[in-house]
């Protein structure tokens, strides 16, 4: 169980590393492919002993960790540095798996369903805002990327928001309603 997941995580990180030149050449693939790939690799890592402890009740600490790490990588400045500064590039390959993917894995299942729903709605609205920012910015936000790539990235954020919305809402539609009445009758009267 652990070994295949570990190797898959390693493979993902390796892929993100090996193909970093083409991936980072375009901000769309850099931000919407490489970064999620690294976070996904982190989510596959096994949780250390004790992560189910009292300090992680409700998953708050872990989710907040991931939120702050994501906020850091949302700064255009961080993206520029990841391209130009090897030390920042290395920290990207470390922090996205360890400070975004892994904490989300450890926090999310413990989070209250309401918090999860709220974060999902928040993520959609936030992606919408990012889409606006990157399509409407009066200046280049990243020195490493062209203005028209910036606009494409904004459109990419919007597409991601729509895709996530469908991904998250579609399973909820499921009119398993036909099966539900039995449960309903039992609990209503």
């Amino acid at each position: 169980m652990t070994l295949p997941r570990l190797s898959l995580a390693a493979a993902l990180i390796a892929a993100a590393w090996v193909f970093r030149a083409p991936l980072e050449a375009d901000p769309v693939t850099h931000i919407l492919v490489q970064l999620p790939l690294l976070a996904l690799a982190g989510a596959l890592l096994p949780g250390a002993r004790g992560t189910g402890g009292a300090w992680n009740r409700g998953g708050w600490a872990m989710i907040l960790t991931a939120i702050f790490a994501m906020a850091f990588w949302m700064l255009p400045r961080s993206i520029d540095a990841a391209v130009s500064d090897p030390a920042v590039a290395a920290s990207k390959f470390l922090s996205l798996p360890l400070l975004v993917g892994l904490p989300l894995r450890l926090g999310w299942p413990r989070a209250h369903p309401l918090l999860r729903g709220f974060l999902k709605a928040q993520a959609l609205a936030m992606l919408g805002v990012l889409a606006f920012l990157y399509t409407h910015a009066p200046v280049r936000l990243c020195n490493a990327y062209l203005a028209e790539d910036q606009v494409r990235l904004g459109t990419g954020f919007l597409a991601t928001a729509l895709a996530l919305a469908v991904l998250w809402v579609a399973p909820l539609l499921g009119a398993q309603g036909a099966a539900a009445p039995a449960r309903r009758h039992r609990s209503v009267s």
Binding site: G117, F132, H136, V169, G174, A175, G177, A178, R184, S189
Partner: protein
């Protein structure tokens, strides 16, 4: 098996946070009154009866709009929460968070308007909040928008909790919307009660509205802080009106839950989820999301298909309302041996006002009519019908029901009618309300623009009559709210 309909449950199957809801309705009632007084001040100022500086007029107008829309949403949400709580257990903390965030938002909005001078109307139409002509600074606009954000977050939490519980209980969104009955082989007796269908549909579209609203609010805030981030004005307007339209509609569609849940007590028979009812609510869900371009019929750069869709959906939105909710109520009323009290009367008025108000709304939703009626007083005319005589009537009806006298066990058939003070108050509310909205409609037909601080003497007659009618409504509303407060206070002792 005949009594499984939720609407017939005499008392709550779960604890619907009655205290919190009663507090909300008290708050809502008081704010409604205050905002009505703002309305009266504006009509009196337009009629030349009092002098109000235009800057103050437009601040009052902004407060009146934001306050009325917010309070309609607040009371609608309280009704939604109360009756959803009959069918599924709800987390009390969520409601308190909702209420707290709402009040925080109210404080921000009031401070932005009356301390910061913000008077960009409740619609914060881009780029007006940023270009005030020197009347208010970007800080006031940002504070106003942050107030909206706070309220939006509260609503989001509330709807998420409602949807989550309903999905778990009734089998997903589709189950709670009675899709098996609407589009499949589901049997009516297996379908969720009407309140659940309405709660699910209104929660779904209000959540979508709020997510879009959050995006345009943040974009507007960014533009205020960093003016270089210019927004496409037409896109912003689309997003704002999608959000605003969905939000105000949701308040009515949530409030009507009170009709589905309370009136059966008076009618003596349950309000059933039928196939047509289930279909109607799914249609409503789609239409509420699709119809918003009818607010942009004069925005000629819009694609023609969107405007045509706005006009057509605007008309067809009336069908679920008229042919399902209103029609069913009329059929129920004809068959029923009603014992009337304030609650029943106001709830029926709510459906009637809503239905009647859809007529001038649909007419204004036609591009040819809109061309000469848009942004005249016809517009506040039609929406005051289905808000003042619709949503607010339902909210007041719900309040009256919360503090109702126990239904007499030996009520004689057909004997219990509204009497004495009740009758007077109700009639004053209806007559005052009808006269008030009629003045708007007449002024609209006479080309009186809406949102003008200063009117010419030709328009004074309607303005002054409207002021009179507004005073009547306020008197009636005052008694309704005072009686509600008095009973609450007495019971609390």
């Amino acid at each position: 098996m005949t009594t499984t309909t939720g609407a017939m449950l005499p008392e709550a199957a779960y604890g619907p946070q009655e205290g919190a809801v009663k507090l909300t309705m008290l708050l809502g009632g008081v704010v409604f009154l205050l905002m009505m007084i703002f309305g009266l001040i504006m009509r009196a100022a337009q009629g030349g009866m009092i002098a109000v500086d235009p800057a103050l007029f437009y601040q009052i107008m902004t407060a009146h709009g934001a306050g009325m829309v917010g309070t309609a949403g607040l009371t609608g949400a309280a009704i939604l929460w109360y009756f959803t709580g009959r069918h599924v257990p709800l987390l009390a903390g969520v409601y308190w968070a909702f209420l707290g965030l709402f009040l925080l938002g109210v404080v921000c909005i009031l401070a932005a308007i009356f301390l910061g001078g913000y008077a960009g109307a409740w619609t914060f139409l881009y780029p007006l909040p940023a270009l005030s002509g020197g009347l208010w600074g970007p800080g006031a606009s940002v504070l106003f928008l942050l107030g909206y954000v706070s309220i939006g977050v509260g609503f989001l939490l509330l709807h998420l909790e409602v949807m989550r519980r309903l999905m778990a209980r009734y089998g997903g969104i589709g189950g709670a919307l009675a899709w098996p009955l609407a589009f499949g082989k589901g049997r009516p007796e297996d379908a969720p009660p009407p309140a659940v269908v309405a709660a699910m549909a209104s929660s779904v579209f209000n959540t979508l509205g709020i997510v879009v609203g959050a995006a345009v609010l943040v974009a507007s805030i960014v533009n205020l802080l960093v003016p270089g981030f210019a927004v496409d004005a037409l896109l912003a307007k689309n997003m704002i009106f999608f959000f605003g339209h969905v939000f105000i509609n949701a308040s009515i569609y949530m409030a009507v839950i009170a009709v589905y849940e309370i009136l059966p007590e008076y009618l003596g028979k349950p309000w059933k989820t039928t196939r047509i009812f289930a279909i109607a609510w799914t249609v409503v869900l789609v239409f509420v999301l699709a119809v918003y371009p009818h607010h942009l019929l004069q925005d000629v750069p819009m694609p023609g298909w969107a405007l045509a869709m706005g006009q057509i959906v605007s008309y067809f939105s009336g069908i679920p309302l008229i042919a399902v909710t209103a029609f069913s109520l009329i059929v129920y009323l004809r068959a029923a041996d009603m014992r009337w009290d304030m609650a029943a009367a106001l709830l029926v008025l709510g459906v009637a006002g809503w239905s009647v108000g859809s007529v001038p709304a649909i007419l204004d939703g036609m591009i040819v009519v809109n061309k000469v009626m848009h942004n005249t007083q016809w517009v506040p005319g039609h929406f005051h019908i289905y808000l003042l005589l619709g949503e607010v009537a339902m909210a007041f009806g719900f309040m009256a029901w919360l503090v109702r006298r126990p239904l007499a066990a030996d009520a004689r058939p057909g004997a219990a009618r509204l009497s004495g003070l009740d009758h007077g108050v109700f009639m004053a509310y209806v007559a005052g309300g009808a006269g008030f909205v009629l003045m708007f409609l007449v002024s609209g037909a006479l080309s009186v623009p809406r949102r003008w601080a200063v009117h010419v003497p030709d328009w004074f007659l309607q303005d002054r009559l409207a002021t009179l009618f507004a005073a009547m409504v306020i008197g009636a509303a005052l008694i309704i709210v005072l009686r509600y407060t008095a009973v609450l206070a007495r019971r609390a002792e």
